[in-house]
């Protein structure tokens, strides 16, 4: 693997870029690994990387049914933030944010983490109360998040419409300056390259058909499109498809998979400096480094694995964007696409051990998994290596659905009276 440096870049430029080597080898499966990770998205590849780097476990395979990074890692709107309300969530996402800040250097791969600030708009008194609650909690948790008046919000994001007679007037905003975006594909590629460099096998185009358990109930390996592969530890990190795979290990999950759509506009010169989210009108927008407006929509109402999604939702999302940013009315949508997100009853992730010995899971991120990538990967690697929860992922158990100790960020932002 070539180390990326200014020198290597120049040298290769002068030799016609002919000498670059593969960023990760195309591995064929061995018969046995210490750990198998199902799903080569950012989360799975990251977990493999941290297993190798921090726990010295390098006999690891990451198995992907398609191409690495082709699931939700490559389909999301790349928003990264950590201004969550509950201590559990703030702890996890802020841990991720700490890792994001050094990720390019650590991986020797520019994931283009851009600290441009994430601004969340308040459109009614209930939003204001809810955001204030977040800001106060974040402050005491050491997470940056501050309140902006409408005028300050407009100054931070000039295309914003703050007219008081708007259908959804902006009554203020919560801004996390340290938050931002990253180049989603590069996260998967960077982790893949760094993991492969430490000996991890990345096996693409290899569907995992089922998880096999032994007579003692513990996992024994996975049946795949390329044959049976043994491992005593298996971590499933397959986003929307998690419940299907877990079911093969006789573990039913509190998960439902929904189509989530997103879209981009044609590229234009820089006009949008930050990330803006409005949960009330369902508009999520930033501008990519290529110039496209990247816009997130909501989930369709029914569960689906079709990655298709309907038109009404897109119409609503675009209308919402034009409501908040009326100058974009004549911009054009370039393409829209769908992903499949797995959602838990409390909309928080499940991250850690399962009742099945040797089986670990990382799922249930809903629409917000990208931002957690390094944090989830890092703590999952810990749990897999030590067979015990990391203090940060400890609350994100499966058991909470039995006992009632839910981590319900969405309910905490309960709808208005």
């Amino acid at each position: 693997m070539t180390h990326f440096s200014a020198m290597s870049l120049l040298k290769n430029a002068f030799t016609g870029n002919k000498n670059w080597s593969a960023q990760w080898p195309d591995a064929q499966p061995k018969t046995e690994y210490d750990v198998i990770i199902v799903g080569a998205g950012g989360h799975g590849l990251g977990a493999a990387y941290y297993l190798a780097k921090e726990h010295g476990i390098t006999n690891v395979a990451v198995i992907e049914k398609g191409w690495l990074g082709g699931g939700n890692t490559g389909r999301n709107t790349t928003i990264i933030r950590s201004n969550y309300l509950y201590d559990e969530s703030a702890g996890l996402y802020d841990h991720a944010l700490d890792l994001w800040e050094n990720l390019s250097t650590e991986l020797n791969y520019n994931v283009m983490f851009s600290k441009r600030g994430v601004m969340m708009l308040a459109h009614n008194i209930h939003d204001v109360q809810s955001f204030q609650r977040h800001i106060h909690a974040n402050r005491l948790n050491g997470v940056d998040n501050c309140w902006l008046t409408p005028a300050e919000a407009k100054e931070f994001c000039p295309p914003l419409n703050i007219a008081s007679d708007a259908r959804y007037p902006v009554m203020g905003a919560a801004l996390q300056k340290r938050a931002g975006t990253a180049r989603h594909d590069a996260v998967a590629w960077g982790y893949a390259r760094a993991a492969a460099a430490r000996g991890v096998d990345i096996i693409q185009n290899c569907p995992v058909l089922s998880i096999k358990r032994g007579p003692d109930g513990a996992v024994e390996g996975v049946e795949t499109g390329k044959g049976f592969i043994r491992a005593k530890k298996i971590a499933v990190s397959a986003a929307g498809h998690t419940s299907v795979i877990m079911q093969s290990a006789d573990l039913k999950m509190p998960l439902e998979s929904y189509p989530l759509q997103a879209l981009v506009s044609e590229p234009v010169k820089p006009v949008f400096p930050c990330v803006v989210m409005s949960n009330t009108v369902h508009a999520y927008i930033s501008q990519s480094d290529k110039g496209e407006l990247v816009i997130g929509s909501g989930t369709d109402q029914y569960i689906s694995y079709s990655q298709r999604g309907g038109l009404p939702l897109i119409e609503h999302t675009v209308a919402a964007i034009c409501e908040v940013f009326p100058i974009f009315n004549r911009m054009r949508m370039l393409r829209k696409w769908g992903g499949i997100v797995d959602v838990t009853p409390d909309r928080s992730a499940i991250l850690g051990k399962t009742p099945v010995k040797g089986l670990y899971v990382n799922c249930g991120w809903g629409t917000g998994g990208f931002k957690a990538t390094p944090g989830a990967a890092h703590t999952l690697a810990w749990t897999v290596a030590k067979d015990e929860p990391h203090v940060i992922n400890a609350p994100f158990t499966l058991e909470r659905f039995t006992t009632g100790r839910l981590i319900d960020e969405a309910a905490a932002a309960a709808v208005a009276h």
């Binding site: 290597s8 870029n17 990074g69 820089p270 964007i321 409501e323 009632g404 905490a412 009276h417």
Partner: protein, 999 residues
């Protein structure tokens, strides 16, 4: 300036000149021209710059797939638009256009320095660099990268245009009005079924518009076209729509169409929408989208003047424009030969036809010879020259795989054809499978998932006769699927231009391929070398290649570039194309304005605003409003000079001391009716209902099955078998839906019916010691004296002559009544009460005062003091649970281990040590304010107000183990200071409830 307009050619109206401008220069075109055809007619090829290297570019196509000739257009304030395809935008008198992505000018662009650093800016270079030193990323590199982004400039003003939408149902939708689509329409229309034909161009006809020499049924192509459109246009069951693009193919044959209505007009008609979204539901769909010509990949294939041969043919035959006087043709397909012939016939001096193939049909060779055109078969192109316009092309013979000696041919246009790619975008939206035709190197439609038929060039067919026949077949199949039979439609085609060709990866070269600037994605400046580099770096899926190089991610969405990229990637990987993959086409087919998607939903129509019957009175009396769910509610009624705080204090005081009047119409109301109504209520709500007598009401609490509080409200029993249920404003629809769910699916045996009456009634609340005095004289049909009509009573009566449901309830702690009257009388009743209340200085109050008054009494607001994680015990309203009831929704969850845990958050009162300090709602609570970050938070303030009645601040808070922390001092750390407060009960005012009993 030389004119390249050819007399007597084209369909534009030469006698109707149209003036427009490009980059500040005035030009003249003809009615029917696009910006591109008009500029080409004026000899202008340079219309844009590439994204990364800023190389000069001209139009390469004549259609919506154009990657290069993207311009900004404007027509006055708010009507600027970036990235418009010059090849599609029709000109009109006064149209103003400008080029993009250049500085200071299109001809001299500083950004072109990037072209010199070509080797450095290889695919994926971003990921390998800009990391040292780390701090430079935020401050230096990223701002630099972002400044280089984008093509055109975003609009800066609000768009004054309006956008429309329609739903349309039809039997057969035909997408594309080229020969296959029209043939399908003729076949289908004769059966009388409903047929809709759409085409993205201003005129129907598709390839026929560019091929006038073909004869159909004894007529010249254009005469046949005119007759056919006339015939179809006359049929009542046929709708023809031009300038209408099918942008997306959704579930169960729903096609979204974008119809452009006014972008071609010089004068904008009053009330006309600019664009309209059609949501068409078709029983059958015929896709006749044709095929798109592929560019050839060779060094310098991007100079202005290098374009697709079919585009040149279109410019000539449809627009009457010669794209050059000395064109050279470079092709691997027969189709380009006809372009050469047409241009020669129009007076151009064709420099040569360079074909990569060795064996060419004799007929073509003959025709070339007859026109004196030199033919170079078995040749490749290895370079071009010319900075702002192509000047020459360097060609070499290829024999046995060896590239021979070069020769340079001068030219002013280089017309290329690398074969044709079937246009299957919409089909792939359906997730229909594609199969790889290894012979022709194309993907063809495979298994279908929707009721659709693909016709013509989309199935890889070539030549007008074959395409017409296929169109008939598709049209016939469509109507057959609908149960109709139709007569055979036959076409007799003469002078058809059939042919075939081969496809290539990069063309062979005698120069270092590593130095070649052989472009694949013209707009994103992706070259063949970039694709190979991506593969070398381990990108083995075409999706990886695409994302690593950005090939196919330009505004043409890969229409120009995907297949060439795939051919080269599969060559580099030594794999068959299907094993490398296929990038998925996504809607929309062509970029579509946000306005079209938003449609009518802008401004006040973005989402409707619900207003009560009394809203207009509040507005007339200067109320400030707050949005609550879809409603707007009067928030407070400021008098001149009053702040919100002053107004609320005054409203509170007036209500506590005399009487206040409040519009409660937004509260949800549900009639629960039927012999099993009481049983149903017992199962839904936590409270017991059996013993509630008719004429009495009770506070009702509704949980989710998870045990958390969902809603509450006062519920009156009107009869044994009838309850008047009220819900929170935001909860009305949700509660009704939840009730219906249980009733219909869990307890269908119960004889109960639910009817929403939220909007049947206007609801006015009167609160204060003078409430009865005011009301009594107006009430008929019930005695509302304290004894006869005690607290928590309900009766049917008349109030001020209006039939009414009258409740004696209180959400303020004062003597209170709620009057429900038919909605149309709400405002009239309000006015009567205001008038009658004048003697008591009646005071209208809004939601803010309501919040303060109820907080003084410790009444909770669902969604403010609870947040979806709060149980009745947590909220201190465990008394509302019918302990003796065996079951109700949510009961089982209340005994889960973590729901009965002692450390749960309880709702308590908080009184600040300093009574003047009003806590911030949402502020967090700790036991030790001196601990380091992150602090251990034990709760937060849910409600906090200045209480005028108590002369101090009050607050409610959810605090861990709060019920056991009575009288303890807790701390609220704020930025820069900490507030101390004592835990109390939640009832701050009149804890004994004496004020309800006022006579």
């Amino acid at each position: 300036m030389t004119s390249f307009r050819v007399k007597d050619r084209g369909r534009v109206k030469a006698d109707r000149p149209v003036r427009f401008s490009f980059d500040g220069v005035a030009y003249e075109g003809c009615e029917g021209d696009t910006v591109a055809s008009a500029l080409l007619a004026n000899g202008v090829h340079l219309m844009g710059r590439g994204f990364k290297y800023h190389r000069p570019r001209g139009p390469v196509t004549a259609g919506s797939e154009e990657p290069n000739a993207l311009i900004g257009t404007s027509r006055g304030v708010g009507r600027f638009e970036p990235n418009t395809r010059a090849t599609v935008q029709e000109i009109y008198q006064g149209l103003t256009t400008e080029s993009q992505n250049k500085w200071p000018s299109l001809k001299f662009d500083v950004g072109a320095i990037n072209d010199r650093l070509y080797m450095l800016f290889s695919a994926g270079f971003y990921y390998k660099t800009f990391m040292w030193p780390r701090s430079f990323w935020d401050k230096v590199y990223e701002p630099f990268i972002r400044r280089a982004a984008g093509l055109g400039k975003a609009p800066v003003d609000v768009d004054p245009d309006h956008y429309a939408s329609r739903y349309l149902y039809c039997d057969v939708l035909i997408v594309g009005a080229g020969p296959s689509g029209l043939a399908a329409a003729l076949a289908a229309a004769q059966t009388g079924v409903n047929v809709v034909v759409v085409d993205e161009h201003a005129e129907m006809g598709g390839s026929l518009l560019s091929e006038p020499s073909v004869g159909i049924n004894g007529k010249a192509a254009w005469d046949w076209l005119e007759a056919t459109l006339d015939e179809l246009g006359r049929l009542p069951n046929v709708r023809l729509m031009t300038r209408t693009t099918a942008i997306g193919y959704y579930h169960q044959n729903m096609i979204a169409l974008c119809q452009k209505l006014t972008d071609h007009l010089a004068e904008l008609p009053t009330d006309a929408p600019r664009e309209r979204m059609w949501r068409v539901r078709a029983k059958q769909v015929v896709l006749g989208q044709g095929a798109i010509e592929r560019p050839l990949v060779f060094d310098g294939n991007d100079r202005p003047g290098v374009m697709l041969a079919s585009a040149a043919q279109t410019y000539l035959n449809r627009y009457g424009v010669k794209v050059g006087n000395r064109p050279v043709i470079l092709t691997s397909h027969d189709s380009a030969w006809y372009a050469a012939f047409d241009l020669a016939d129009a007076g151009a001096k064709v420099g040569a036809i360079v074909d990569t193939r060795n064996d060419i049909q004799a007929a073509l060779m003959q025709q070339a010879k007859a026109r004196g055109i030199e033919t170079l078969t078995g040749h490749t192109a290895t370079a071009t020259s010319g900075r702002l316009r192509v000047k020459s092309v360097r060609v070499n013979p290829v024999r046995g795989g060896r590239v021979g000696k070069a020769r340079t041919i001068d030219c002013d246009a280089l017309l290329m054809s690398g074969g044709w790619t079937p246009s299957l975008h919409l089909f792939s939206h359906t997730k229909g499978s594609l199969h790889w035709d290894a012979e022709e190197n194309v993907y063809l439609p495979g298994q279908q998932t929707e009721e659709c038929h693909i016709a013509g060039a989309g199935r890889g067919l070539w030549g007008i006769a074959a395409v017409l026949e296929d169109g008939v077949k598709a049209g016939t199949a469509a109507v057959r699927a609908l149960g109709h039979s139709c007569d055979a439609v036959r076409f007799d085609v003469s002078d058809d231009r059939t042919g075939n060709g081969v496809t290539h990866k990069e063309l062979a070269t005698d120069r270092s391929p590593g130095r070649a600037k052989a472009f694949i994605d013209f707009q994103n400046d992706v070259t063949a070398k970039d694709i190979r580099l991506a593969v070398r770096e381990g990108m083995r899926s075409i999706e990886h290649v695409k994302r690593y190089t950005t090939n196919g991610m330009a505004t043409d969405q890969g229409k120009m570039s995907n297949m060439n990229g795939l051919m080269i990637a599969s060559d580099a990987l030594q794999k068959e194309a299907p094993q490398v993959g296929l990038t998925t086409f996504r809607p929309p087919y062509t970029p579509t304005t946000f306005g079209t998607f938003a449609g009518y939903h802008k401004g006040s129509h973005f989402e409707l605003t619900r207003k009560t019957p009394i809203d207009s009175w509040a507005e007339e009396h200067g109320a400030a409003f707050e949005p609550v769910a879809l409603w707007r509610r009067a928030w407070y009624f400021p008098k001149a000079g009053e702040t919100m705080h002053m107004a609320v204090s005054r409203e509170c005081k007036a209500t506590r001391e005399s009487i206040g009047i409040f519009d409660a119409s937004t509260l949800g109301k549900i009639e629960v009716s039927g012999p099993d109504a009481v049983e149903f209520m017992n199962r839904m709500y936590t409270n017991p209902w059996t013993k509630l007598a008719p004429g009495r009401c009770r506070y009702g609490l509704l949980l989710g099955e998870d045990g958390f509080i969902r809603d509450d409200g006062v519920i009156g029993r009107m009869r044994d078998d009838l309850f008047h249920v009220t819900t929170t404003t935001g909860g009305a629809a949700r509660v009704l839906n939840m009730m219906e769910d249980y009733l219909q699916t869990e307890w269908p045996d119960l004889k109960v019916w639910l009817t929403s009456t939220t909007e049947e009634w206007a609801t006015i609340a009167l609160n204060g010691p003078n409430a009865r005095k005011l009301l009594a004289p107006l009430v008929e049909g019930v005695d509302i004296s304290a004894d006869a009509f005690p607290h928590m009573s309900v009766a049917e009566c008349t109030v001020a002559g209006f039939s009414s449901r009258l409740f004696r309830i209180s959400f303020t702690g004062e003597l209170g009544f709620e009057v429900n009257v038919p909605a149309r009388h709400g405002r009239a009743l309000w006015k009567k009460l205001m008038q009658a209340g004048r003697q008591y200085d009646i005071c209208p109050y809004g939601t803010e005062t309501m919040h303060v008054l109820r907080a003084e009494k410790g009444y909770i607001i669902i969604g403010q003091d609870t947040d979806g994680t709060v149980t009745p015990q947590d909220a201190g309203i465990g008394w509302a649970i019918g302990k003796a009831k065996p079951d109700f929704v949510g009961k089982r969850s209340l005994s889960r281990p973590d729901i009965v845990a002692r450390d749960r958050k309880h709702l308590v009162g908080l009184l600040t040590d300093d009574p003047k300090i009003v806590l911030e709602e949402g502020a967090q609570i700790v036991t030790d304010p001196n601990q380091p970050l992150p602090m251990k938070m034990i709760g937060h303030v849910t409600s906090s107000y200045w209480s005028e009645a108590l002369g101090r601040s009050i607050a409610m808070a959810l605090v861990a183990g709060g019920h056991e922390k009575m009288d303890q001092t807790l701390y609220i750390p704020m930025p820069g200071h900490t507030v101390a407060a004592k835990v109390t009960g939640t009832v701050f005012y009149d804890p004994a409830g004496e004020r309800l009993k006022v006579e």
